[in-house]
Amino acid sequence: MGFFDKAKKMLGLGSEPEPDDVPSPAHEKRAANVHDDDPRVLAAERAGKLDPRRKDKRPPLVDAPPAGPGVDDALAVREAGDKAGARKMLQDMDKGGGLRTVLRAAAAYEAGDKSELSQLLPVIAKEEPRYKLLLQVASALDNAERAKGYVHRAEAEKAPAWALGWAKAMSGNPEVKRHGLVELVFADHALARTVAARDLELPGVEADPEAGARYAAFVHGRNSIKRFGAECVAGMLDEAQKVGGA
């Protein structure tokens, strides 16, 4: 086939297939046989899902398994009033650590399920870095006095200056908030601007994109704890401290 013929064919201008475009019977047979015994093809054929235009009988693409529910879904169910349903979702999605386990344990604590709680508390007590959950709870609590205790515990766990500053900056106590903002500015100015813009919505302040990842890594946990109910998570955390330190 010449260059112009090939170009015509590519543009769909050719009317008759050229001899070398016609698949030979052997070629057709070979293409068909590759998948004749493929159970996915047979199943697709039975279900009428096999594209008849495809001579190679390639099986249809399998849809990716649907993503399971996440923490946000469970919190939405909880906010809709179905605490038992949300607790079941948290149990199902728990992977043995992190925020899902924390919220699962908080739900068990709330339900008074001591058996489940006793299994989860040792895991939470060993969560690293230990200061992170303490400060997320402190930031999520509305009660400034109550929050102070978790900040002190985080300080004892050698929380970095930026994390302590951020937690203090979220305080309802104006003096603690100011101290937190100053500490955060001196520890991480870009993060301070981001916290001031996003969390405190200070007029004229803009989030610094340079701190975006650092901000997101901390804030999802804090917001989820707040949505769940910070008092309840704090109560569970106090129980975890009795078990092993957190």
Binding site: H179, V182, V185, F186, R193, A196, L202, G204, V205, E206
Partner: protein, 180 residues
């Protein structure tokens, strides 16, 4: 026009003392003393009172028209207290040469010291401007870098040779900055 890199001799104890004073005044929200520290007068001193807290001014972008003079004063005073201009390169290409020149990049000892000198995250926040090339290196690192550059001077372009000579002549710790 792009600024060129300068080298400043840094009085580290003086810079630390300034930083400590600034922090204490911001913590206490002592705006009158903060105005004194930053040598603010008249309307600029009054401006500090217009925010809920003094620290709020330093959370605004450096480009904010109302905050910009406060940032400028802050840098000016920090510079006055702790920095002495030692040398300014006339060549806009110096920063690119330092970051990219093969001979420098191929030597990990040289490259790591240059990267330190141009790493803004190691400077106090009030000396960092968005997009500025800046950083600092202590006296030991400066002497080592100057020593490592000396034997390869013949293979370096003129702007790097001038930089190497200036680096050797600064006293003590050094700050590199293109926007102070």
């Amino acid at each position: 026009m792009r600024s060129t890199l300068s080298l400043y001799a840094m009085d580290r104890p003086a810079l630390q003392a300034f930083s400590k004073d600034l922090r204490a005044l911001l913590m206490a929200d002592n705006r009158a003393e903060l105005a004194n520290l930053l040598e603010l007068r008249g309307a600029l001193a009054e401006r500090l009172n217009e925010a809920e807290r003094a620290i709020d001014w330093f959370l605004k972008p450096d480009t904010n028209t109302e905050a910009a003079p406060l940032f400028s004063s802050l840098r000016r005073i920090a510079k006055k207290r702790a920095l002495t201009l030692s040398w300014t390169s006339p060549e806009a290409s110096l920063e690119g040469r330092l970051r990219q020149y093969d001979l420098l990049r191929e030597d990990p000892q040289i490259a790591s010291r240059i990267d330190k000198l141009l790493n803004p995250s190691r400077l106090p926040w009030f000396l960092v401007l968005p997009g500025a090339a800046c950083g600092w290196i202590d006296s030991v690192g400066r002497i080592e870098l100057a020593g490592l550059l000396r034997p390869i001077r013949a293979s370096l372009p003129p702007e790097l040779v001038a930089f190497a000579e200036a680096l050797a002549e600064v006293d003590g710790d050094v700050i590199a900055h293109d926007s102070l």
